[in-house]
Assembly symmetry: C2
Homo-oligomer: 98 residues x 2
């Protein structure tokens, strides 16, 4: 499996709008096993996204899905920065769809 | 929802054993919506665990489950350190059981 884990910041006051965009198309991404969007309780602009995919190719393919491309295009202007971006190799757990 | 995200290290050569212990009882934890164990591709001893729970109380209660307590007791001696531990507030996504 292929995974990613990242923390990024919205522009001030735009976190909810950014979260809504991130959640817009999470149900229709082939090969996606887990995609969780979370707020940072200690930072009003910070968002954590943790992902698990069957493989890196399915993640890459997801970026070409029209609905995902549209959501990303709308989200980019609301992102102030990326604090952390980490690739992982999920090996198991609970809540991994598929 | 309540979430946690952490990176910790096994003793050298003990990562697989530690991962096996972490995965031992992930299916039977009431209130657990997601529990994903992943390897760090760039560090042979590092493990990432990302969790989502209905609430902080259900996470705390899980630590009292006999099978979880036993797994933790076996895992502790294999842990060399905790590099990162972050509480989060999951707000949605895909692969959140329950």
């Amino acid at each position: 499996m292929f995974g990613m884990l990242g923390k990024f910041r919205s522009l001030p006051g735009q976190r909810d709008a950014l979260v809504a965009l991130l959640l817009e198309c999470t149900a229709d991404m082939p090969g996606c096993l887990s995609y969780v969007v979370a707020l940072d309780p200690a930072d009003a602009d910070a968002i954590w996204v943790t992902e698990a995919w069957t493989d890196e190719a399915s993640h890459a393919a997801s970026l070409a899905i029209p609905a995902v491309k549209q959501a990303i295009a709308k989200a980019m202007p609301l992102i102030a920065g990326v604090d952390m971006h980490q690739k992982t190799m999920p090996v198991g757990g609970y809540g991994l769809a598929g």
